[in-house]
């Protein structure tokens, strides 16, 4: 059982952020027991929702002073249990720190609070002809603070890169409530280590970003979106390899398999994918209008050469939006076809996609599990979604076995255990598949540099190394 907070600490938190923004009622804390990964449930001791950098720092100072762990939480959409309340921690949420502080169209920068929703930044900058490039599938709800913590990716990261490429500076709250500025777009020549790069993707284990400076890009002039229909996943995989190696630079190449197509087509986000197709590729090119048709033609040729049944082009913005909605909301639509869902995340070299897909199918069949694939094919970033019912203990066990086998397979072909969802609590056990003891020890030491007392998001990312330290 989780210990509750002493009245004095609860009162002190209320004095900092206002009583309405401290949750200590155990009945209400139930809501914060999971993030997007519901396989784990641990209720926090309390939830605190600061409204400013100063409040955030004061909250961290108070909690760390009391020896209480701080569990950062954005929108709670993470899929690796990164916001799971561990070690009797107090959840510190950024939901109220949701202001866009500055949009600087001349320098193409924006400064935001961590609770700003990813898609809202693009909405706000569009009138200036600018947008924020990283577009995780949950962009309509996930926060930029969460994106920084997870170094989030997204379909268009194939061409534009992941979050870390766009974060130019941070104001962070570190252990004990210390506020520190890292980087900054105007201070690239200060000769320091890349502390921003180190902080991005640290999964809340180093501290909390209180202000984020990001680079914006000009809106692209034109876009071409293709839908390639294939009989098999392998054929689609070959098309991906052909496109990437042909020298084309697509903005995105996404793949969905038959099980996913069926789930999506049954939902409000139906994209018009044929339900009898073995696989579909969404391929997109963007940039200057003049060159797009020839690129799209070349990609279409690659699809046909790989055996595509049909290649369609979205000619209107609404069609394109529909195609993308089907892809981006695919995870949520899985709720329709199975009671429980494990969204896996791994990356393999792109040339190995066809064989890996075949092996995943084989693993699924061997463990008698339904696996729905939907992923960023252009990056080799797989998301095999394993469908199951947690009330069936045997099936649950098979899910765990199959997951482990898929991870080992990906590592064996030169890949890794997570491409964008992070390690969180879910993948700590797999860390040893990709990292040796020295690397893990170095990571633990670097964590200690930022967080000497281990009170930021404990029990995440690192396997037992950290536990041994305490």
């Amino acid at each position: 059982m989780t210990r509750s907070l002493t009245a004095a600490v609860a009162r002190a938190l209320g004095d900092i952020v206002g009583r309405d923004h401290v949750i200590t009622d155990p009945d209400r804390l139930v809501v914060y027991e999971s993030d997007g990964l519901t396989a784990y449930r641990v209720a926090p001791r309390a939830v605190v929702l600061p409204g400013s950098t100063e409040e955030l720092a004061a909250v961290v100072r108070l909690l760390h002073g009391e020896g209480i762990a701080v569990i950062p939480r954005g929108a709670g959409t993470g899929l690796s249990g990164g916001a799971l309340p561990t070690l009797d921690g107090v959840v510190v949420g950024t939901a109220r720190m949701n202001r866009i502080l500055e949009i600087d169209p001349v320098n193409r920068l924006a400064r935001v609070q961590p609770g700003v929703i990813n898609a809202r930044l693009t909405e706000a900058t569009r009138p200036h002809g600018l947008y924020y490039a990283p577009d995780p599938s949950s962009q309509s709800t996930c926060t930029l603070g969460g994106n920084v913590a997870e170094n989030s990716g997204g379909p268009h990261c194939l061409k534009y890169g992941v979050t870390t490429r766009y974060v130019t500076g941070l104001k962070v709250v570190l252990a004990g409530g210390e506020i520190m500025e890292l980087g900054g777009a105007g201070r690239t020549a200060d000769g320091s280590l890349d502390l921003v790069g180190l902080f991005v993707g640290s999964e809340g284990c180093f501290g909390i970003a209180a202000e984020i400076e990001v680079r914006l890009l000009p809106l692209t002039e034109g876009v071409r979106t293709l839908l390639g229909i294939f009989e098999t996943m392998e054929a689609a995989g070959h098309a991906v390899t052909a496109i990437i190696s042909s020298g084309l630079v697509p903005a995105a190449v996404e793949i969905v398999d038959n099980a996913t197509i069926r789930a999506v087509e049954a939902s409000v986000y139906a994209g018009g994918y044929p339900v009898d197709a073995g696989a579909a590729l969404v391929i997109e090119f963007d940039g200057t209008e003049a060159g797009l048709d020839s690129e799209a033609d070349a990609a279409e040729a690659c699809c046909h050469a790989a055996g595509a049944r049909e290649v369609r082009r979205a000619t209107e913005a609404s069609q394109r939006a529909k195609l993308w909605n089907g892809r981006k909301k695919a995870f949520g639509t899985m709720g329709r076809i199975a009671p429980d869902l494990l969204v896996q995340d791994a990356t393999v070299p792109r040339t190995r996609l066809p064989e890996v897909l075949a092996s995943i199918t084989e693993i699924g069949e061997r463990y008698r599990l339904r696996v729905a694939n939907v992923f960023h094919a252009g990056d080799g970033n797989l998301h095999p979604n394993i469908l199951f019912d947690r009330n069936d203990p045997d099936e649950l066990h098979r899910v765990e076995q199959a997951s482990l086998e898929i991870m080992k397979l990906c590592v064996a072909v030169g890949g890794t255990i997570t491409g964008e969802h992070g390690v969180g609590v879910d993948k700590r056990g797999y860390m040893k598949l990709v990292h040796g003891p020295d690397e893990l020890a170095a990571m633990a030491e670097v964590k200690r540099v930022f967080d000497p007392t281990g009170l930021f998001n404990p029990g995440k990312v690192l396997p037992d190394v950290e536990a041994a330290h305490r």
């Binding site: 309405d20 923004h21 949750i23 009622d25 009945d27 209400r28 139930v30 809501v31 914060y32 999971s34 993030d35 997007g36 519901t38 396989a39 784990y40 449930r41 939830v47 929702l49 929108a75 709670g76 959409t77 949420g93 939901a95 109220r96 949701n98 609770g115 929703i117 809202r120 949950s138 309509s140 709800t141 996930c142 939902s267 409000v268 986000y269 909301k329 695919a330 995870f331 949520g332 639509t333 899985m334 709720g335 329709r336 009671p339 429980d340 869902l341 494990l342 947690r390 009330n391 203990p393 649950l396 899910v399 765990e400 997951s403 879910d426």
Partner: protein, 455 residues
């Protein structure tokens, strides 16, 4: 990976018992969180207990026997939901939040009675005699100008705050004086035969409770514009309040009783369609099938009726609608949640307005977000309802139109109340009122008479 399983047994509440029916509705939530930014209460409070995902999680916890349905947490956060259902269209799993909310409210109300005001209102609304008395009094207050006076004179804080808001809502139900209309507006001989176009379809109009009591003119406009577009409008006696307020308020028993009455009389009338000019009522009637799904034979009949229910803008947009004469004005448009989210109707009201020459439509910012009306939310939750309402009023005023047009009485009253309290010049109007005026000016109703029925 490890997993926590749903504990078997331990099911105490009605919600839990009804889970076998509702299981399919609750389980698809995969906790993805896509609903969070769609929720007006979460956006303002930042507490996930006040988000759709959080409320579903509370419901699940009750079902799993981990949370007492009489708890303050369950009661407060289920009660604080506006019921706007903006979370439904963004839910990839298609969770039927509105239905679950009604059930949760029902459970919460069983374990912990609603506030006295809510209970009294629901009681009054379920009785034709009582509510006609209430609305008659309301009309007197409105006509005498006392409502408007009180809305401006009463203090905006303290115990009289809710009274002030209530009077403002009442004052806001007065008809908007459209540009170019003299004080005593003429209406309307019956639609002349040659003006009818003849779709051959027979329709009934839900007269409703609040509609009948305070917006009789909107009902009149609805019938006339339907006739002018060729529908045969049949009067159906014995119809009652749709029960939406009761269902939303957790009083499912009264809601079901009212629904059964309506199913009975409307089916007996043999009409093709039941036309509704209040988005909240339309949404409720389209879901009669769900409301009565465990009622055996009634279930099939309820589904039959539900399939015949249409919003007035839906039927008008489907046939055209025919164009009338110019009504020179600008209107701010706001989507009613129960039209946009619950019925997924977005274009038809705009098509109706577009059919009126001279009307310039300006869709307001965040038009897809709830105005905070949600029945009597502004009275039961003055702080939060006030904040949400103030944001909506600001968005309306930002477009600088002559009036705000929205096809739902609840929204008309909520936004109108905000405008009244602000002393704002903007009027409030139902789109069919404007269409009606346009037809009147076009002479579809014969020569304008000098009398106008009250209401």
């Amino acid at each position: 990976m490890s997993a926590v399983s749903v504990p078997p047994g331990g099911v105490t509440s009605r919600l839990a018992q009804e889970l076998e029916v509702q299981r399919e509705r609750l389980l698809p939530c995969v906790h993805c969180g896509f609903c969070l930014p769609a929720c007006p209460t979460y956006n303002r409070l930042g507490d996930e207990n006040d988000s759709p995902r959080g409320r579903l999680h509370l419901m699940k916890a009750v079902v799993e026997g981990r949370l007492d349905p009489a708890s303050d947490a369950f009661h407060t956060h289920i009660d604080r939901c506006l019921g706007c259902r903006a979370c439904e269209p963004v839910c990839p799993s298609g969770v039927e939040y509105g239905t679950l909310l009604e059930l949760a409210r029902h459970t919460a109300a069983e374990h912990r009675p609603q506030g006295r005001l809510t209970r009294m209102l629901l009681f009054v609304m379920a009785s034709r005699a009582l509510r006609s008395l209430l609305f008659a009094g309301g009309r007197v207050l409105r006509a005498s100008g006392l409502a408007a006076l009180g809305a401006r004179a009463l203090p905006s804080a303290g115990v009289l705050r809710s009274a002030r808001f209530g009077l403002a809502m009442l004052a806001a139900t007065a008809a908007w004086r459209m540009p170019g209309v003299r004080s005593s507006r003429g209406v309307a001989a019956p639609v002349s035969d040659d003006a009818k176009r003849g779709t051959g379809r027979r329709v009934a109009v839900l007269t409703g409770c609040v509609q009948e009591g305070l917006y009789g003119r909107v009902n009149q406009s609805t019938m006339r514009t339907l006739e002018a577009n060729g529908f045969e409008v049949v009067e159906v006696k014995g119809q009652d309040c749709c029960g939406a307020l009761h269902a939303h308020g957790g009083d499912l028993d009264r809601a079901r009783a009212l629904a059964k009455t309506n199913v009975e009389v409307f089916l007996a009338s043999g009409v093709d369609l039941v036309v509704v000019n209040a988005a909240g009522c339309g949404a409720a009637m389209k879901e009669y099938g769900t409301l009565l799904e465990s009622d055996g034979d009634d279930h099939a009949r309820a589904r039959d009726l539900a399939s015949r229910v249409r919003d007035v803008t839906e039927v008008l947009a489907e046939v055209g609608p025919r164009r009338g004469a110019a009504v020179e004005c600008s209107v701010a448009y706001d989507h009613p949640c129960h039209l946009l989210h619950a019925q997924r109707i977005s274009r038809p009201p705009l098509q109706v307005l577009d059919a009126i020459p001279g009307v310039e439509v300006r869709v307001i910012a965040n038009a897809e977000e709830c105005c905070g009306g949600a029945g009597i939310y502004g009275i039961t939750h003055p702080d939060l309802g006030g904040r949400i309402g103030a944001d909506k009023v600001a968005a309306v005023r930002a477009v600088g139109a002559d009036a705000v047009a929205t096809p739902n009485p609840g929204c008309m009253m909520q936004i109108g109340a905000g405008l009244v309290m602000d002393g704002a010049p903007e009027g409030v109007v139902h789109p069919v009122e404007l269409l009606d005026e346009s037809y009147r000016r076009a002479g579809y109703y014969g020569e304008p008479s000098t009398q106008r029925s009250p209401g």
